[in-house]
Symmetry: C2
Subunit: 362 residues, 2 copies
């Protein structure tokens, strides 16, 4: 058994010093550099993972799923704010006014502020996704991590894992939020389609609904999006992820949501995952599985309320491996810093062991 590739970039370290606002309270951002550092250390200690840095892929893969206005905004907003003197030193940019659906309803204007923090409120949907000097480069690097991870699988590895930070699944076409800026998993799925695949499946095991991924492929019949997540009636991001959402147009039936009750444990989770995997098997992907992998389903996650334990991730990973598809695993959420490394090892070791040798090309 060869070692499993892990793609990691240090660019994420500059996306730090972050705060977020929850219900009007300022607090350190749960999405912090220590998350990726802890995962990397745990996999290093395991000894059976080989680390590599990402290749640069440029903007084209990003522009294949995101509007250019979003990309340009994220590229320039920090420098613009510094120039305009509105950053108050080094603190993070967080919008305070949002272009909501209820605001624009029945009003014709789509004109936006040209630049600056006010423009953020047309693209961002929460107060938890701060922008600092290093954010854009980190988000770009996370995309490169994801694409490089996919290339390892296309080159023959049965499993490759990208420690994407910032994560991606809340980022939509012209939308960022939920700690996410560019949708790493969606960019990989789109790249697989452009590489010739006719049916690509994305499995999202993060605690939160991947509203961005769902949106990007909502009307696409060639990309199946299947997500297990906390019921949006109680959990972030609140405004999508219900079971009734199934896609539309050419994408009717290629979105599948499995909302979960609070305190769902491995039995309940495995039952939903079984249904989800059947959906993927029925779709018959002709490309590697894109896995949005969050560990905020962990029983002690500070912003989750599910009840998975470290050993449970191995069981769930074996189920995923049972699909027989090679896997492009991309890190999403997970905020229990002291456990995230062990959880990643539990999942990835078991997934690697479960993947049939025939799945890869080597």
């Amino acid at each position: 058994m060869s070692s499993t590739p892990v793609i990691y970039s240090t660019a994420h370290l500059a996306h730090e010093g972050l705060i977020e606002l929850q219900d009007g309270v300022v607090m350190p951002c749960y999405e912090m550099p220590q998350r990726a550092i802890a995962i990397r250390q745990a996999l290093k200690a395991e000894g059976t993972y080989r680390f590599a840095t990402p290749l640069e892929h440029g903007l084209d893969p990003i522009l294949a799923v995101h509007d250019v206005e979003l990309v340009r905004l994220l590229e320039h907003v920090w420098a613009d704010a510094v120039e305009a003197g509105v950053t108050h030193g080094t603190r993070a940019l967080i919008p305070d006014t949002f272009r909501t659906a209820a605001y624009v309803h029945g009003q014709a204007s789509s004109q936006l502020p040209d630049s600056g923090p006010a423009r953020l409120g047309a693209f961002c949907f929460d107060t938890a996704t701060p922008i600092v000097a290093g954010t854009y480069e980190a988000a770009r690097a996370a995309v490169d991590v994801a694409l490089t991870t996919a290339e390892r699988v296309l080159a023959g590895d049965r499993l490759a894992y990208g420690i994407c930070r910032p994560p991606g699944h809340h980022a939509g076409r012209s939308l960022f939020g939920g700690y996410c800026f560019f949708n790493n998993a969606a960019i990989v799925a789109q790249r697989l389609v452009e590489g010739g695949a006719s049916r690509v499946a994305i499995l999202d095991l993060d605690y939160h609904h991947g509203n961005g991924t769902q949106q990007i492929f909502w009307e696409r019949g060639d990309v199946l999006y299947v997500s297990l997540h906390a019921d949006p009636r109680r959990a972030y991001p609140y405004f999508s992820g219900h079971a009734a959402e199934k896609g539309s147009g050419a994408g009717a039936g290629t979105t599948a949501n499995f909302p979960l009750a609070a305190r769902t444990d491995v039995e309940g989770y495995a039952a939903a995952l079984d249904d989800a995997l059947r959906r993927i098997a029925d779709f018959a992907p002709d490309a590697p599985l894109v896995l949005s992998l969050g560990f905020d389903t962990f029983e002690r996650d500070p912003i989750g309320d599910l009840a998975l334990r470290t050993a449970d991730y191995a069981r769930l990973a074996r189920m995923v491996g049972g699909l027989g598809l090679p896997v492009v695993a991309l890190q999403e959420g997970g905020y229990a810093i002291d456990a995230i490394g062990a959880n990643a090892v539990s999942f990835l070791n078991a997934l690697r062991d479960a993947l049939p040798a025939t799945a890869g090309k080597t």
Copy 2:
């Protein structure tokens, strides 16, 4: 010359202890009880204003312009939050996740969280509009103040003034924000229509665009909305208020926006007001003028950037009086506490003097 009625309720005093979040920084809310207290004291000292408390008008006038879901949310969200233990004592409720247009674009779900702060993010559009225990009663009382003010004018006073707090013009059909919960001016305008008027004009002189008022009457030909305000390309609420926005359907041409450059002084302001008043005169209202009166156009306003001085308000008021319409003046913004009383006296004294005696019925 008889004294001018001023309607005031102490219910606003319980809408206090407020914070707001600007660009990720927590600060005391600019919209504070001292605003209304200072205005009342200045008018009391003037000696030519007679004070009265509002009559209760119930929910029907509110439901004539707002969706019932908004009303119910504002009525219950604080108690729900207390019950759910999410208020952290007495601090204000401020949403952290917003149902933005870019989020819901291309996704079918309109299901919302049943209750609690998460539901706020579908109705509120900023982090500056905190809810505390006394907010709903204060907002209800502000509506009663506005309606009672209108009734004084309908009963024959040429001018009546309502010290509405919280203000109203940012509140839309299913929308609150910008320190506003119910749209006091829109509720009055609608009441005038229901009372038999066929053409009602609202003049909005607040520093900020009254996006809520515009939205409510966007497709209405019987209510003209005319607003002078800071250009939304630089100023809150950012996503409406451009000159190109003119209404649609039956309301095509009955919205008129006059965005103003930073540091606009009384000369520039008066030039725009002259155009605005001509629009109103051409519309030929058959009801009192509804005046959304903000003093955040003042040169030292902490959140404005225009350059009006206290004496300037008298000049502008004389221009408004030149319309020859009786005036229902309703307080909107204005955050320079030390000057807001003098500014109100300057404006109201001059407006009263300018109104022709024939405008009223007595």
